[in-house]
């Protein structure tokens, strides 16, 4: 079972690399080095802030875009190219296919993030000339960004398991936007009454809460991030990802592929 999942995952990773996904690193490197050099000349006293904010925001946004646009095609492309039937005719279960695809895309994003992290720390070293202990919060922020990617990948896969690529992209992106406003949703739910309150509260907790995973500002200001937060966010992301993957598996298992 693990071998089959591993093969699918590694093939998914190879496909993503062949799709020149990792070329986005060039754009990222240019953006970050330009910002690091330029910001000191057009602003005052925020060189480190800009490098960290811009760097981590770019890592997050580039990754979300890759997760959505590759994730939505993971299943539909295989169906379109008819390669899915070849795969499933082997002793590969449908759920193994889904999990393998997820792991492949997640692996691509982790590799992408790793190289981007090198870029961020390189630009940081250029503007600050040395690292400090407080820079460890940047690593935590990057870890939380990877957790975000896991959720987005799982959601993209969920939508891809039953919908067209265009609709999957719209659903996934919409959920990303709504998830960024999860705190506002909860505030709105608190202001309502009765049945509306129940619905709003349920929605507020059902949408992925990306705001708790966004600690970019805290990292930029060298604020301490507690171990409890790290642990709880990890479990939240893993449970949410598992939920979305289970949903994808449930739908895909019953999908008529003819």
């Amino acid at each position: 079972m693990n071998a089959r999942i591993g093969h699918i995952a590694s093939n998914t990773f190879r496909e993503a690399v062949r799709d020149r996904v990792l070329y986005n690193l060039i754009a990222f490197a240019l953006l970050l080095s330009g910002a690091a050099i330029l910001v000191g000349q057009i602003s005052i006293d925020i060189e480190r802030l800009v490098v960290v904010d811009l760097g981590l925001t770019a890592v997050s946004l580039f990754g979300i875009v890759i997760a959505i646009f590759i994730g939505i095609g993971l299943v539909s492309k295989e169906i379109e190219k008819r390669t899915l039937y070849t795969v499933l005719s082997r002793p590969v279960r449908r759920w193994e296919f889904i999990v393998g695809k997820f792991l492949g895309l997640a692996g691509t994003l982790v590799v992408n993030t790793f190289f981007m992290a090198i870029g961020v720390f390189g630009a940081l070293l250029y503007v600050t000339h040395k690292f400090s202990a407080a820079d460890a919060s940047i690593l935590i922020a990057l870890y939380f960004i990877i957790l975000e990617f896991l959720i987005v990948c799982a959601l993209a896969l969920l939508f891809s398991s039953f919908s067209t690529p265009l609709l999957s992209a719209i659903f996934a992106f919409s959920l990303f936007v709504i998830g960024s406003f999860a705190e506002d949703l909860r505030g709105f739910a608190a202001m309502t009454h009765g049945f509306t309150r129940w619905i709003a509260t349920a929605a507020a907790y059902l949408v992925p809460n990306f705001s708790v995973l966004n600690v970019i500002s805290a990292a930029a200001h060298e604020q301490h991030l507690s171990a409890q937060l790290i642990l709880q966010n990890t479990f939240y992301a893993l449970f949410y990802t598992a939920m979305a993957l289970c949903g994808a598996v449930l739908i895909f298992e019953r999908r008529n592929l003819k």
Partner: protein, 308 residues
């Protein structure tokens, strides 16, 4: 030559010519277009809307707005413009997006508080900005120092400045000079010695070259103001003793038993007008002086001196 090679050459030439022509045309169009009022347009003035539009990336948006604020102020300051209409809203948005962006408070107050053309001439808004900063960063003693500074320099409210310095001195790791300044404000708020202490503290505690240069210019201006005050007092004593105004500062120096005519920080002697006023020889070299200025003086753009 093959058809492919011909196509390549023509396409490459077309690319270069097209790019060059479009860039040159754009330059020409910029020159003939009326100056757009984009500099004064704040398309979205609500911090809440901008925060929501940033999809959680508030920090980056705050950096963008801070950079925009710096560019806005620098451009208007360079043009010696008297109006900075968008400065306070830009600062409000920046600090609402990132309440921990300390430079926005420190520099923002120094942009807002001074009178035009050096600043926006809005000390009350500068104070509101600093209070907002202190509310969100209560452990930053520098913000108390900067707030006290605004009370001292722009509002001449020495009592309130002393109170703020006193509050700031209670912050853990606060610089010891806050306590000294608090005590100094209480009794000697209006003295030159207090002003000198304040600017010396600013010069010594900052690593930012712009701030140090600014502090240095203020210290030079304090020296000039003190000299002019001292000389004016000496001229008044001469007039009371001799029943007439002195004809030159040499007469004053002789009457006061000075070794020579006092010189300004650049080594130029002060001048005496016909009506007995002490004048600075080159007032443009001292952007912040308040005394010794000729009548109807219009200041030139400030020249900053390097710390010696």
């Amino acid at each position: 030559m093959t058809a492919r090679k011909r196509t390549t050459i023509v396409a490459a030439l077309g690319l270069v010519v097209g790019m060059t022509a479009s860039m040159l045309l754009l330059r020409h169009i910029d020159q003939i277009r009326p100056r757009a009022t984009i500099a004064d347009a704040l398309y979205i003035s609500s911090p809440k809307i901008i925060r929501r539009a940033s999809l959680g990336f508030d920090g980056l948006m705050a950096c963008i707005y801070w950079t925009r604020t710096v560019q806005y102020f620098g451009h208007r300051h360079f043009l010696r413009s008297g109006s900075y209409n968008e400065l306070a809203p830009l600062l409000e948005i920046t600090t609402a997006l990132d309440p921990h962006m300390i430079p926005a408070y420190q520099f923002g107050a120094s942009f807002l508080a001074p009178r035009p053309p050096n600043g926006a001439g809005e000390p009350v808004r500068a104070i509101e900005l600093m209070k907002y900063g202190i509310e969100h960063n209560p452990d930053n003693w520098r913000l108390y120092y900067d707030l006290g500074f605004v009370y001292y320099t722009e509002l001449k409210d020495y009592k309130r400045a002393g109170e703020v310095f006193e509050e700031g001195s209670k912050v853990p790791d606060a610089h010891p000079f806050l306590k000294i300044l608090a005590a100094q404000m209480a009794e000697h708020g209006a003295d030159y010695s207090t002003a000198r202490m304040l600017w010396t503290a600013t010069y010594e505690s900052s690593h930012e070259s712009n701030i140090r240069q600014n502090a240095l210019e203020h210290l030079r201006a304090i020296r000039v103001d003190e000299d002019v005050t001292m000389l004016q007092a000496a001229i008044e004593r001469f007039r009371q003793n001799n029943g007439r105004l002195p004809t030159s500062l040499w007469e004053v120096a002789a009457a006061e038993h000075l070794r020579g005519i006092p010189l300004d920080p650049d080594g130029n002697p002060y001048e005496l007008s016909l009506d007995g006023q002490v004048l600075v020889a080159k007032p443009d070299d001292f952007p912040f002086i308040t005394k010794g200025l000729p009548p109807d003086y219009k200041p030139a753009p400030p020249k900053f001196h390097s710390p010696s």
